[in-house]
Amino acid sequence: MTIATNGKPDPTPKLVVRGLTVFYGEKKAVGPVGLDIVGQHVTALIGPSGCGKSTFLRSLNRMNELIPGCRVEGEVRLDGDPIYGPGIDPVAIRRRIGMVFQRSNPFPKSIKENVAYGLRIGGIKDDREISSRVERALTQSALWEEVKDRLDESAMGLSGGQQQRLCIARALAVEPEVLLMDEPASALDPIATAHIEELINELSAEYTVVIVTHNMQQAARVADYTAFFYLGELVEFDRTDVLFTKPNDSRTEDYITGRFG
């Protein structure tokens, strides 16, 4: 399946992926993948380890370029504009398409400075503006009430779940349009996971969210659309309720029901 749009109803997808193939050296890691990511919805990428889902996710904001020997073919368009091509600044792309990682990775700085970091790099100097955008990002990531009285304390003192929400706030502070999340809750306990999932749901009102998860129940809970990757191939892409009740492809069926090779 190279163009797996499955007749999706959305006429103007936020991200359009066509023939995307990623190589590490000579070896093809994933692709060719074609799918449409619907704006202001949550799309989950599932599949076993090594299936290429994280590689695919990283190719959506050109993070793979940081990996030596990595080469990307095909195209990704954000609101119709290509993100790959001569003269396109990957940093500008990453400002529009933010990312949150599996392990929360706060900087060894204060809570406030963690969130303000991207803003300062982006050239914002006015402290009042920074403060208000920090508050907005922390509110969006459902952390504000818990940290508003200790913004100047070290971020390293936060719990795992709080650190992850801080990283989400850091990604949101620069006001991206798309948020990529690579297993954002896999290192968290069920309560912190529930917070993150609720947050993902809320964020999707404003942002386009793409999430990689190993937890299929999590995909079923949070995602509007789900894509199943297997052995470097996009096998099936459909509405989450359809994919988890009557998948089309027997490989999807086997994977989600727990019948592995």
Partner: protein, 236 residues
């Protein structure tokens, strides 16, 4: 495709696989019991066998017990395994199927109760359509269970199609009994008992039809119930 994955491929988790197999086995046991009761009830009627009627009434207790067991098993699997896709469809089908099978058992009991009442009276008439109707219903139930075991959509649809034969038999039996009642009011007691039995058979046909519809859903993920009323009755 689903059939292949259901039958050829086992779960990686063998305990889970065993749980699903147990649901399946208990359901089939229940189906076999229901068939047995319907078969016995008809024989009790045609052969005026009150002892057999009592036995069938007693046999229904096993179906009720199995209903509770299957429900419990399904609940456990749903709670512990969070089944999806074909497993989810199988389990939701199982939960509904037990209700249909249990009702079939109850209708068998109702038939036997009417048989016991009839056996206290001289026979009203030789049975012609009733045994044919009973055979049709029995075959529908049997085929429906076969379709479930084999995940066979075509067979399930043949079961569904046969329901109109049962309805036609019911209309025929009803009309005939009506003439007996009009001829002589003393026939009314027996004729109404027989009419009830015909109605029970007709209801069993409906439950067998449900079974067929559930099998289609289980295999294809497509709900074909109330197709005429809600539109969209094409099965693709």
């Amino acid at each position: 495709m689903i059939r292949a994955s259901q039958q050829a491929r086992a779960h990686t988790n063998r305990e889970y696989e065993g749980e699903l197999r147990r649901v399946r086995e208990q359901l089939l046991l229940m189906g076999a019991k229901a068939e047995e009761i319907i078969h016995g009830s008809i024989r009790a009627l045609t052969e005026r066998d009150s002892v057999l009627a009592e036995q069938m009434i007693a046999a229904d207790r096993k179906i009720n017990q199995l209903e509770m067991e299957v429900d419990e098993l399904c609940m456990q699997v749903l709670a512990r395994r969070q089944p999806v896709a074909s497993d989810l469809r199988f389990l939701t089908t199982a939960l509904k199927l037990v209700t249909d099978l249990e009702r079939i058992g109850d209708l068998g009991v109702n038939m036997c109760e009417r048989v016991l009442e009839l056996n206290g009276e001289p026979p009203l008439k030789p049975y012609v359509d009733m045994p044919n109707m009973a055979r049709e219903v029995q075959e529908m139930l049997h085929e429906g269970l076969d379709a479930f075991v084999a995940a066979d959509v075509e067979k399930a649809q043949r079961v569904i199609a046969r329901d109109k034969n049962v309805d036609a038999y019911y209309t025929q039996v009803f009309r005939e009994l009506l003439t007996y009642m009009m001829e002589d009011p003393r026939n009314i007691f027996r004729a109404t008992r027989l009419q009830s039995i015909a109605k029970y058979l007709e209801r069993i046909g409906d439950h067998a039809t449900n079974l067929g519809e559930l099998v289609v859903f289980m295999v294809k993920g497509k709900d074909i119930r109330h197709a005429g009323k809600l539109g969209d009755d094409k099965i693709t």
